[in-house]
Assembly symmetry: D2
Homo-oligomer: 426 residues x 4
C-alpha cells in the first residue's frame, strides 16, 4: 500500500458527501436495469470472490454502479479517476464507504496526485484491471511488470485505448489479455448512435436556448457518431448537411436523403457545425471567412482539435463570452462565430452537460461486468487484445430486452437446421 489516502480520509463533510453520492447513484441505478440485474445475479453467485480489481474510470454516478456491481460479486475493488476533472467527490466518497471498495478519485488533483492515486490502486495488486483510456494497463506494464504474472486480464472502454492496445499487441508488448469492450455492437450502435446523438444535441440546445427546426446543421463525419447526430438532428427538423472523406460513407449519407458537401461549401450555408470525425483540422482557417454571422461551432468527436481554434483566434478581432459555455469570436467584418464548450466534447464539456445518457452506459458497463467475470472464470485467454465473445454480448442484449419487457422469438430446430444446411450448400 502507498501512503496516498482514499477519498474518505480527504473530505471534510464526509457524511453529507456520501449521502449526496448515494442519491446520485440511486438515480443512475434506477435506470440501469442491466447492471442491476447482473448485480443481483453476482451477489448470489459470487463469481469474483478472491479477486482484486484495479480500475481507472470517470468516477461519477453511472460508473459507480459498475464499481459496486464488481464489489458485490465478491471482489475487492480499488478505483481512481481517469481524468482529474470528471470525478464527482461525493460519488467517490459513497463508493469508498463500501467495505470492499477503496476509492482514491478526487476532483481537481494535480498531476502528481493523479499518478499517486494510480499507484495507490496498483498497490492493491489487482488480478483484473478495468480501464477507460489504458492508464492502469500502461502503469503496470511500465512500472510494475512483476504484477503481470498474477493478472488474469483487463477491459478497456475507449476507442483511443483500444487503438493503442492493438498497437502494443502488434509490437508484442501487451503481456496479458484485454477485452476490447469499445468494439462490440452493443457499444457502437447504442452508445455512439443514440448516446452521442441525443446528448450532444440536447447539450447544445440547453446551452444556447436555440432551436433545431429549419437550421442547416453541418455534421462532419458519417461514422457511428456522425450517423447518430445526423439522424437525431433530422428528427428535430434540421436540414442536415454531411461532410465526409470516405466515398462509401458519403454515398450512404446521400442515399439517406442528406445533402453531402465539401466543408468549403458547407461553411457558407451552415447554421450549426458539429464535428464527429476523430481526426484533426476538420474546420480550419479557410472555412471561417465563409461562415454566416451567428453560427455555432461544436465538437462531438474526441479531442478538441477538430476545429482549429488557434486559427480562429488569429482571425478574430475580438473574443468574448457570449453565454456560459459559448465563446464568440468576432471577425473583422463583424460576423460572430460562436464556439460551444471550447470545442471540447460538447456532451461532456458544456456547462449543463451530463455525459452520455444513463441507459447507454448501462449497456457498456453490463458488457464490462460480464467481461470481468469471463476473464476470471475462463482463464483461457492468452496475452493480447480480444474481441468480446459474441455470446456474452448477446446475453447483455437479452437482459436489456427482458428489463424493457420485450420478448422475442427463437429458432426452431428445423429453422436452425435449414440455416445450417444453407451454409453447406444444399
Amino acid at each position: 500500500m502507498t501512503d496516498y489516502p482514499p477519498i474518505g480520509e480527504q473530505l471534510d463533510d464526509l457524511e453529507a458527501a456520501r449521502e449526496e453520492g448515494r442519491r446520485k447513484m440511486e438515480w443512475a441505478a434506477q435506470h440501469m436495469p442491466i447492471c442491476t440485474r447482473l448485480r443481483e445475479e453476482y451477489e448470489e453467485e459470487q463469481p469474483l470472490e478472491g479477486q482484486r480489481i484495479g480500475m481507472a474510470m470517470h468516477v461519477e454516478a453511472k460508473t459507480a454502479i459498475l464499481v459496486e456491481t464488481l464489489a458485490e460479486a465478491g471482489a475487492e475493488v480499488a478505483v481512481t479517476g481517469c481524468n482529474p476533472l470528471s470525478t464527482h467527490d461525493d460519488v467517490s466518497a459513497a463508493l469508498d464507504s463500501h467495505d470492499s471498495i477503496t476509492s482514491y478519485a478526487k476532483r481537481g488533483v494535480d498531476d502528481e496526485e493523479y499518478y499517486q492515486a494510480i499507484e495507490a490502486v496498483i498497490s492493491h495488486e489487482p488480478t483484473v484491471t478495468v480501464d477507460d483510456g489504458m492508464d492502469m494497463i500502461a502503469a503496470i506494464h511500465e512500472d510494475h511488470p512483476e504484477l503481470i504474472e498474477g493478472i488474469l486480464g483487463g477491459c478497456e472502454e475507449t476507442t483511443t485505448g483500444v487503438h493503442r492496445l492493438r498497437a502494443m499487441d502488434a509490437d508484442g508488448a501487451l503481456e496479458y489479455p484485454v477485452f476490447a469492450v469499445n468494439d462490440t455492437p452493443m457499444k457502437r450502435l447504442f452508445d455512439n448512435v443514440h448516446g452521442t446523438g441525443e446528448s450532444s444535441l440536447a447539450s447544445i440546445a440547453m446551452t444556447t436556448n436555440l432551436s433545431w427546426a429549419g437550421k442547416n446543421v453541418v455534421v462532419a463525419g458519417y461514422g457511428y457518431c456522425g450517423k447518430g447526430v445526423a439522424k437525431k438532428a433530422a428528427g428535430q427538423n434540421a436540414n442536415v448537411i454531411v461532410t465526409e472523406v470516405e466515398p462509401r460513407r458519403a454515398l450512404e449519407a446521400h442515399m439517406e436523403g442528406y445533402d453531402v458537401l465539401p466543408m468549403a461549401e458547407a461553411a457558407e450555408v451552415g447554421d450549426v457545425f458539429l464535428t464527429t470525425t476523430g481526426n484533426r483540422d476538420v474546420i480550419v482557417e479557410e472555412h471561417f471567412p465563409e461562415m454566416k454571422d451567428g453560427v455555432l461551432l461544436a465538437n462531438a468527436g474526441h479531442f478538441d482539435i477538430e476545429i482549429d481554434l488557434e486559427a480562429l483566434d488569429d482571425l478574430a478581432t475580438e473574443r468574448y463570452e457570449a453565454r456560459d459555455g459559448v465563446e464568440a469570436y468576432v471577425m473583422d467584418d463583424g460576423r460572430r462565430l460562436n464556439v460551444v464548450a471550447e470545442g471540447r466534447l460538447v456532451n461532456l464539456a458544456a456547462p449543463v452537460a451530463l455525459g452520455h445518457p444513463v441507459e447507454v452506459m448501462d449497456q457498456s458497463f453490463g458488457v464490462q461486468a460480464a467481461c470481468v467475470r469471463e476473464l476470471v472464470e475462463s482463464k483461457a485467454y492468452g496475452p493480447g487484445v480480444h474481441d468480446v465473445p459474441d455470446e456474452l454480448d448477446k446475453e447483455i442484449a437479452e437482459i436489456k430486452l427482458e428489463a424493457d419487457g420485450v420478448s422475442i422469438d427463437s429458432l426452431t430446430d428445423t429453422q436452425t437446421e435449414y440455416m445450417g444446411s444453407w451454409e453447406h450448400g444444399t
Copy 2:
C-alpha cells in the same frame, strides 16, 4: 407617476447588472432576425413617435428585444413583469438604462410590490398596452377607466389571456381593440409545434440524464403542442403513445403511425408521460398504481394541474428529491414515480430550463411589434378582440424567410386570374 422606483434605483451593483443584461440581450438579438430587421426599419421611420406603451411581460432577454424595438420606433415604454419569478434583474436593469424605457420589473417581489409595479407602468398613461396574460388590460379597465379614451389598443400574447379577453368582449366589457397575437398561424405552428416540442424534451433530457431511444413516451393531448412533442420524440427514436378525447385528433395520431390508447392503458406501458392538454386531471389517482417503476411524469401544457400531484402524494409512502428538478414519489410496493419540475411547465420550470427557443420568440415578437404599429397607424379598429390581419402575419413570414436566405416564387397575373376565376366557377 407613482413612487414605486424603477429597477435602476433598486439594485446595488447597477453597472455590472446592466452589462450582464446587455450580454444576454446581445445573444438573443443575434438570433432574432425579424425583430432586428423591424428595429432597423422602425428606427428609420419612427412610426411610434409620440406613443406611450405600457407592457407587462416576462422580462428576460428575448422579450427585452421587443421592448427595445418599440422604444427605437419612437415610443416611450414602461414595462414590468407578468410573473414575479420570470424576471431577470440584469435584463431589467439594462432596459431601464435606455433613455426611452422605464423598467419596474424585479425578480421575487411580493404581491403588493407586484401590483405597485403595474400601477407604476399605468402612471405613464399608455396609449398602447402589450400583455402576456392581460394584467395590464385588466388593471386599466378596473381601476383606470379614465385612461381608456386615450388608448389606441393592445396586444395579448397568451392563450389564456386571449380566452379571457374573448369572454370580456362577449360580455361587452372590453372597451378598446386588442389583437389576439396568440392565434396567428405564425405563432401556433412554430411556437407550439417546434418551440414547445424541442424545448420540453431537451429540458427533460438535461434534467434527468436519460435518453429517448426505445422509450415509450406517452403524450397526453394531440393539439399543436402535443403534435410537436410527439413528432420530436419520435424523431429521437421514442415509441410515441398518444392519448386524446377528440376522435378526429385521435384518428390523426393513429394515421400518423402512433399508438393511441386510453390513459388507463397507456399508464401501464409508458416510460415517460408528458401532458399537453391545457385541461386538468389528465393523469390521476387511478393511473399511478398501474405505472412502472422509474417512470417520469412531466407537463408541457399550461398549469400544474394536468397531473394530480395531491393524489400522488396521498398514495406515496415517501417522497424525496431524486435529482435537482426531480421529485421521486415512492409507492407502497417500492415503485418510484419521478415528477419533473413539480408538474409545472417543464420547459420553464426545470432547473436548466430556458423557456422557448430564441427563434420562435422572434416570430411571436415580430408579430407583436407589427401589431403595435398597426394599432397606431390604422386607428380603424373598434373595441373588442381582433385577429391579426393576414397581411401583417405574412409580412413577418417574409422577413423571416429573407433573414434565413430563403427565396420563393410569386403568382403571375395569369395565375392569380386563374385562381380567381376558379372561385367564380369557370
Copy 3:
C-alpha cells in the same frame, strides 16, 4: 324515364361482368370498415326509405360500396359516371343487378351518351343528389328546375365542385342545400395528406422502376397535398425541395427541414418534379432548359395544366414513349425530360394507377353516407352550401377508430366544466 338503357342491357357477357364486379367490390368492402358498419346500421334502420338518390360518381369498386350502402338504407339509387374513362363496366353491371340500383355508367361513352346517361338518372326524379364534380346539380338547375321543389339536398365530393357551388351560392343561384363534403377535416387530412401522398409516389415508382432514396424531389405547392407528398417522399429518403408562393406555407416547409427554393433554382437541381398547386403554369418554358438529363415530371394537383406541356413540346426536337406511361421529350442538347402520365393526375392516369387508397375513400364515403342521412332526417337546411356538421364528422372518426381497434378517453364532468369555465374567463 328516358330510353337510355342501364348497363345491364348493354353488356354482352353480363354474368361474367357482374361476377368480376362483385369480386372487386368485395375487396374494397373488406377494407372499408366505416361504410360496412354504416351499411349494417342503415340496413337495420332504413333511414332512407322512400328516397330516390341520383348520383354522378367515378363508378369503380370503392364508390360502388357507397352506392350499395345507400340502397341498403332503403333508397332507390340511380347512378352514372362523372368521367367516361373512370367507369369500370363490371362494377357498373354488378351495381345494376341490385334490386334498388339502376346504373347507367359505361366506360368510353361519347359526349352525347354521357349526357343522356345523366338525363336517365334525373328521370328517376331524385330527392337527394350525390355529385363528384356537380354534374347532377348543374343539370337539374339548368334543365329540370321543376324537380328542385322535391329535392331535400345534395352532397359534393370535390374541391372543384365545392368552389363552383360556393360561387353559385354567392350569386343566389343555388336552390337547394348542398353539403361541402370536400371541406371536412376527415377528408382533407387523410385523403389529401396520406391518400394523395402515398398513391402518387407508388404510382410513379411502379411506372418508372426508379427509387426515391437520395433523389432531389421538387414538390410544387405546400398545401395539404404538397405536405403529404413531401412527407412521404422524405420518408423514402428523398431530399425534398419545396416551391411555394405563400410565405407562411413556405416558412412552414422551411421549419420542417426541407429546402425551399424558387422554381427557377429548383429546376436546376431536381431529379423528380411533382406539382400539387391546383394552379396553372407552375413549371413552364423558362424552367425546362435548366433541368438535368433524365428528370421525371409529374402532377398530383388537379388539372393537367400545372406543367406547360405545349411549351415543352415546342422546345423538344423529338418525343418518344420511353416506357408505358412515360413520354420522353428530347431537348436539342440531348437532355431527356420524362413526363409521367401526360401530366395528368398521376395516381389516376398512370398505367398502373389505382386512384386513392381504399381506406381513405372509406372515410370520405362514410361522411357522404352520413350526410345523405342528415339531409333526409333533418330537413332543416336551407338552400346554399353547408359545412358538414362537426358532430357527424366526429361520428365517422369514432367508427374508424373502433374498426381499427383504437379506444380513447372521454372528458369527465369536471374536465368539461374546467374547459368551459376557461372559456368564460375564470
Copy 4:
C-alpha cells in the same frame, strides 16, 4: 458450339422485339450512370479484349446494360437466363443483335431447354463467368472441368450463390477465384435497405390499392432487408412491429422506436406481414388463427417458404383470387387472410412488380463490371471465394457520387498522418 439456337433464331417478329428491347434498355441506361460511365471508359481502354465471358443472369433491361458494358469493353459475351420466368425476350433479342453478344435466354423454356442454353453458353469456352445463383460455375465444375484451366475467375451476385460457393471453397472443391459481389457494402446497404424496402412496399400498394398510414406492419427479421422495409414503412406512417430471433438485432429495432414482439403476439395485431428472414417457417400454422380479418401476407426475403402456405391451405375452408396477385384464404370463422404474390418475393412476383429499382442495380452491376476487369488485369487471385477489394468498391462509390453531382473532401497529409499515428499508439 452446341446446336441450341440463340434467341435471334427463335423469335418471329425479331425486329419489333429488338426495338422494344432497346427501348427498355435505353430507359435503364438513362438511370444507370455508373455503368454508363464505366462503359465509356472501357470502350476507350478495351480492358477485356480477347476475353470470353459466360453469363447466367436475369435477362431484363437492367442486366442487359451490364452485358453490353462487358461487350463494349472488348469481350465476347454469351449469356442465358438464371430463371426461365425472368427473361424478357425483347431484351434478349436486342442483346443478341450486338456483334459481340450471343443471347440464349428465352422466357418460359422447359427444364431441358434451360440447361441446353447453359451448355450453349459454356460451348463458347468462357475465360470469365458471371453468375446470379452459380448455375454457370456449377455446370463448369461438374461437366466441363477441362475448361477450368482457361478460366481467370468469376463473379457471383446473390446471397445464396455466395453461401454455396463458400461451402464449396471450404470443401476444397472450388477451383477458380470468385468474387463475392453480394457481400460488398455497396450492395448490402443500398440494394437491400433502399432497393428491397422501397420496391416491396410499392409493389404491395399497387397490387392491393391499400394505404400504409396507421397500419400495423409486422416485419419479420431485422437484417439489412428488414431494416429497409421497416424504415420505409415507418416513413409512410405505418406503425412498425419487428419480430426477431437475434437479441442484438431485436434490441436495435427496439432502440429505433419500433415495437418488438414474438410472432405469436404480432399475429394478433398485424394488418400487414412482411417476411425478410431468409429462413423458413416464419409464419406458421399456429399464427393464422390469431390474425385479423383482411390481413395481407407477403414475403420480401428469398424463397417462398417463409410463410407456410400449405398449413394455411389446410386451415382454409375456401380459397379465391381476391385480386390479381392476391389470393384470399377463408378461415372457418369467415376471416380472410390475403396472400400477396403467392408468398414469393413480392417485388418480383407481384403482377405489377418490376424487381429492384434501376439505380440500385446500377451499383451492383458497376461492382460486377469492375470485378470482371480486376480478374482479367490482376491475375493474382487464387482459387476460392474472394471479397471485392475495398478500393474497387470505393471507386464505384466515387463514380456514383460524381454522377449525382456530389463532391466530398479528402484527407490532407497531416490528417492522414494523424490517423496513422493514432493507429500506432502515439
